[in-house]
Amino acid sequence: MIDETILNELTSMLGEESIQRMLIVYTTEVEERLQVLTQVLQAAESANAVDFAEVEIQAHTLKSSSASFGAIEFSSQAEILEHAAKAHDFSTVIEQLRVVNDVGTKTLSFYSQRLAPQG
């Protein structure tokens, strides 16, 4: 789910302190974007219509940033969601919104453990 090689490279390049700061920015951003996608999903389930443009933008950004911070699985699922939104494929978007939310939550959990002070 997480490519440790990418994380290690980032750490050696930027230093532990800097990478900690970056990961805080990343996880905050993921939380915000997942929240937006959750709202879109709730709206879609009640109204049977989805804001494809919003989904595409959020999925696109999650795909790029997650790949850069080693969250490979999350990036792949976001990419599937982006393509489905671009194709206006309603059922796949609904299904993939749930997958992305699930993988995203697991990814956040991984990074929060990594960010937690080592005891």
Partner: protein, 507 residues
Amino acid sequence: MDITSSFTTLLVEDSMSLGALYTEYLRADGGRVTHVNHGEDALNELKQWQPDLLVLDIQLPDMSGMDILAVVQKEYPDVTVIMITAHGTIDIAVDAMRSGAFDFLVKPFDAKRLSITVRNALKQRQLVNLVAKYESSLPKPRFMGFVGESLAMQTVYKTIDCVANSKASAFIVGESGTGKEVCANAIHHAGYRCDGPFVALNCASIPKDLIESEIFGHTKGAFTGAVANRDGAATRAHNGTLFLDEICEMDLELQSKLLRFIQTGVFQRVGGTKEEKVDVRFVSATNRIPWEEVKAGRFREDLFYRLHVIPIELPPLRVRGKDILLLAANLLKEYNKEEGKKFKGFSSDAKQCLKNYAWPGNVRQLQNVIRQVVVLNDGELVELDMLPLQLTAVETKQAHSKPQPELQPQNQYQSQSQPKESSSFMGSIEQGSAYGSSQQKLDENAVGGKDNEIEPLWLTEKRTIEGAIARCDGNVPKAAALLDISASTIYRKRQTWEELENSLTTS
């Protein structure tokens, strides 16, 4: 020096985490980074300052990175743009390269990949700057209305560049025909006053009584004929440039009024009581030596110091070397177009003649000569015999006669190397081969017959005209043009001479 030692970057990336990551990458390379998330913010930043590098995400929440690229290419072409793209938008990134982006990076990319691209971009900027610097150091063949790449003219161009944005008074000196008004115009148009008016006033061509009114304007009834209020050059030149040509011809009394105006920017119209204030940059010119005029008491010393802040000396054409042929070629092209002719260039003899001639009338004379050649001749090559006699006669004279003692020039800016024989056109014709080449014979012809015998004027005139026709191989219209009369005048005179000769024979 490390190429990345100091560079500025505007990073446009909507993802906060990626923005923070790329900022770290760029800082590690020595960059000073400003990060914005939206396209609109990027455009606002660009209005305030222009970075060395613009690192631009293609997909932004409010607009496409391509739109920003288009604005940058148009408004800020010196900014080097690196596009950031995701896998799905590589085609757009290629289009961006075609539209002027330097390179593109595909997400995700690591610090090394970004670093290489940044270094390449900075290297290219360095080379572009180097080429621009080199190009600006090369001789400019054209500059703000001037044509010429001689060292003397390059110095003039540099001075104009330096003084253009200053308010300091410029004083142009140079012989007639060297381009003093072109120079004044260039100073005006190269500077921040270019959107303001350029008002030129020739102090020599305006009657003494009217010049004050021409400069300062007048009120209704100020003098006979002043039927209405009229703005002078000072008013019209507000926020622009006032060019006072032939300034040394100005009356001493008016010089003191001009001095006050230059010192304060304040003046009164002729007949007026109200003071007016204007913002004017002064450029003056003369073909005299201004300091000589001061010494002779014809030009106020205090005015001299006010106007003579930045002197610009325009070189006479004879010291401009290869500029003569460069100018001649340019003029030939221009006049060809105007006159519908097909000249492509000059024969080597003609070129030699143009180069050797002293050009006492400078560029203005060269313009007239080339115009004359184009109007009176047809062909693809300007040959030596198409050039006016005043040029070729000097060549003949120089080839056959012994050196004459130097004439003392009246002043520095009057031609120092005018042909030592008569510089007048008629004199040149008379020195032509039709009447021999010895000075003695020339003198005889100039006076009339032998032994200083005075002959009727019509005979002298006839000899001059027939001589010109002979020099033009019997071409009457060409001889007429060179003599500055119409061909019909020659035909009419010929008829009169015939009648006079007949009457003399019969009597």
